[in-house]
């Protein structure tokens, strides 16, 4: 069911360490209760495509928020701020988890909150979604879209900001996980996706992985050559079917 009427705006939210940041928030305009979704943006930043995704969820009947994970490095346009963050080696995992927690609290604090909350992330945000799903207790559904570095084969890539590979936290994952991956992706590779699945299987986790041929990284992104319309359309159907099941009621 879709709701063409929606409202989208930039809102203030309270992130990690009670820092005050900005987030993009959209919801259907009709009266009612809606499940919530937190959208975690990719490494380049809090970009236009991220806002399109937030509005897409509102169109489909969700109250949706995407925290600007780089707000502490502003002011500035999201691309300039993203460049600063990249040059500094990215944002700490702990901070991202705190910001996602704050975004969840924002959704739960709205009068339209139905109760259940999902997270979804793309690229580095997919990794963050997996991480948040392991670290935060009150998430009801996790969607990892081609999150790279969930498995870290080169341990020298672990550092103070990213001290633990998310795969090593999998035991703590409580909510169902949906994973979407392109078989031509180089990060994560098909082999890494297989190994992630093996860990989820071994630990008895509730997960569903979909792998797409003739698709690489970021195949949802209409602004990129990587966009694969058929695979993306099917992927979106999988996302909404998954949330329809896990966030209902």
């Amino acid at each position: 069911m879709s709701y063409p009427g929606l409202i989208a705006e930039t809102v203030a939210f309270t992130g990690h360490h009670d820092d005050q940041g900005e987030a993009y928030y959209a919801r259907p305009t009709r009266t009612g209760k809606f499940p919530g979704v937190v959208v975690i943006h990719h490494l380049p930043g809090w970009d236009e495509w991220t806002t399109e995704v937030v509005r897409k969820f509102a169109f489909h009947g969700y109250a949706c928020i995407s925290p600007h994970l780089y707000f502490r490095d502003g002011p500035g346009s999201p691309d300039d701020v993203g460049a600063r963050v990249r040059a500094a080696g990215g944002v700490p995992d702990e901070q991202v988890v705190g910001d996602v927690k704050g975004a969840i609290a924002y959704l739960r604090g709205q009068p339209n909150a139905a109760g259940k909350i999902g997270v979804i992330g793309f690229c580095s945000g997919g990794r963050h979604a997996y991480l948040a799903g392991c670290r935060l207790p009150h998430i009801d559904a996790i969607v990892d879209c081609w999150g790279g570095n969930v498995i870290v084969d080169d341990k020298s890539q672990l550092n103070a900001k990213r001290p633990v590979a998310p795969i090593d936290l999998t035991e703590q994952m409580r909510a169902p996980l949906l994973g979407l991956f392109g078989n031509d992706d180089q990060n994560p590779t098909a082999d890494q996706v297989n190994r992630t699945e093996a860990v989820l299987q071994r630990l008895g986790k509730d997960y569903t992985f979909h792998r797409y041929d003739n698709a690489g990284h970021a195949f949802f992104n209409t602004a990129r050559e990587a966009y694969r319309p058929e695979q993306a359309a099917d992927g979106w159907r999988k996302v909404f079917a998954f949330y329809g099941k896990t966030l209902a009621g």
């Binding site: 380049p44 500035g76 970021a218």
Partner: protein, 87 residues
């Protein structure tokens, strides 16, 4: 992929951005998802002045082929120019 790999080149010079000329001391170079260019991956260069806090940048996002073309032309321009000025 989304990587955190950034090569830092120490440079000396100036760059012109939206607020005018500024001195620069660093070029952050990476090959990853671009912000603006309609490419899967782009060679991005952010010219900044870390000594001044790196709050402003002059940015480019280039296709891999055009980045290699640029590298080659920079070398040609340097060789030709230095040769001409040495004469």
């Amino acid at each position: 992929m989304c990587s955190y790999i950034v090569e830092k080149a120490h440079v000396s010079g100036s760059a012109k951005g939206p607020s005018g000329w500024m001195r620069i001391d660093t070029a952050n170079v990476y090959f990853d998802h671009p912000y603006h260019a309609p490419l899967d991956h782009a060679l991005a260069i952010d010219f900044v002045c870390e000594a001044d806090g790196a709050r402003e940048r002059v940015a480019v996002e280039l296709s891999a082929a055009s980045a290699r073309e640029l590298v080659a032309k920079i070398m040609v321009a340097l060789a030709v120019g230095e040769n001409a000025h040495a004469a």
